[in-house]
Subunit: 218 residues, 2 copies
Amino acid sequence: MLSYTEENYLKAIYHLSSGGEHEVSTNSIAESLQTKAASVSDMLKKLSVKELVEYRRYKGVNISEEGKKEALKIIRKHRLWEVFLVNNLKFNWDEVHEVAEQLEHIKSPLLIKRLDEFLGYPSFDPHGDPIPDEYGVIKDKAKILLKDLEEGNEAIVVAVSDDNPAFLQYCSKLGIKIGTPLKAIDKLEFDNSMQLLLDGDQKINVSKEVSENIWVTD
Amino acid sequence: MLSYTEENYLKAIYHLSSGGEHEVSTNSIAESLQTKAASVSDMLKKLSVKELVEYRRYKGVNISEEGKKEALKIIRKHRLWEVFLVNNLKFNWDEVHEVAEQLEHIKSPLLIKRLDEFLGYPSFDPHGDPIPDEYGVIKDKAKILLKDLEEGNEAIVVAVSDDNPAFLQYCSKLGIKIGTPLKAIDKLEFDNSMQLLLDGDQKINVSKEVSENIWVTD
DNA sequence: ATATTTTTTTAGGTTAATCTAAATTTATAT
DNA sequence: ATATAAATTTAGATTAACCTAAAAAAATAT
Ligand SMILES: [Mn+2]
Ligand SMILES: [Mn+2]
Ligand SMILES: [Mn+2]
Ligand SMILES: [Mn+2]
């Protein structure tokens, strides 16, 4: 049985490695989990003994197949709970992440099976992130960062970063949500901001920071 | 902020003292939480410093008003989650307690407010236990233990113990649920078992153990 | 190639929650 | 009233997760 903390480490490693594609540095894990590198080193040894990661000192870690499976289970729970909170408990999309961070650690296979059923087997969470199925399989949409959308091109918002409430509130204020159609009117060199046309009528300017936290159809 | 463990101690003390009515012994807490008396002594000192209990060594503890408030918050969450699991996720009444033991520690006032609203402000959980309102006020029904129902008297099942899945499954098998009308036909001296008439037609015999874990209308 | 900087690990502690064994207090029995 | 038993506390360890400071390895710059 994994501890709450071990689960959070695995999830962080999974995300930082883009789904297990590459190795992850000690410092990046420390930053992501708001802890110190020394603590990370300790935990990596522990996870390595449990064969959830492959770890060679000074070389970073790779998540193992078993570790990936565990990470995906937690991510699945996190996203299903977010759907529940938004769809059924009327939470705003900026209010769910923190609560889901707690709910994702509840251990009950039956609970997650029934929750999935209750929600109607959703494929995406309120921020457009794909929900792994019970086998850990993810079916995501092709997408690019808004900042990489070329001038003159049109696209639809398919996902947003989910862990910064202020950012999500700002998106709501701007009128940006999942499904919003937009067009890149202009990209400004000096501050990397973008001029957008929202819903075909609303003209707005978004900063580099914003355009790096929104994904649109490819 | 209370730790998971502190919350469990407070809840145990609250229950063992019948809602703060009397003091509780170190050993009874240890037994209830499946831990050792030495561990309990340590924790009681901690809770005492936080003024959640009044503790005099060798004399047992009393829960404080503040401690009672915290305990009731956890009990409220526990029972609301049990309602959700049974009513919405189709859990059986014997499957919910263990999961609720985890869910009761989720910290989010908004979550519990919205869950209560979503469930339609239920007053009782699936085992007939009253759900404290947001101020910690409990409106319970007058009830007696089935074993204290006098021969010849009729009554209705209003509550059952909720922490033993095997007991709850056995109740289901016997046809005993919340709302079941029954009559005490006979009480046998030698083994303290009871003969009951269920729903006016079904004749069954229940052991002392069973009749001590079912409550009926007074 | 060597010096400097950055990253990572190790060494040695701390805290919360737990344990066993020993000491102490309280309760019970004769 | 005293001896014995039971309940409780204290002493001293252990474990998981964390920390700071020092040491070691790897990366970078000249
Ligand atoms: Mn999230
Ligand atoms: Mn999300
Ligand atoms: Mn319960
Ligand atoms: Mn219950």
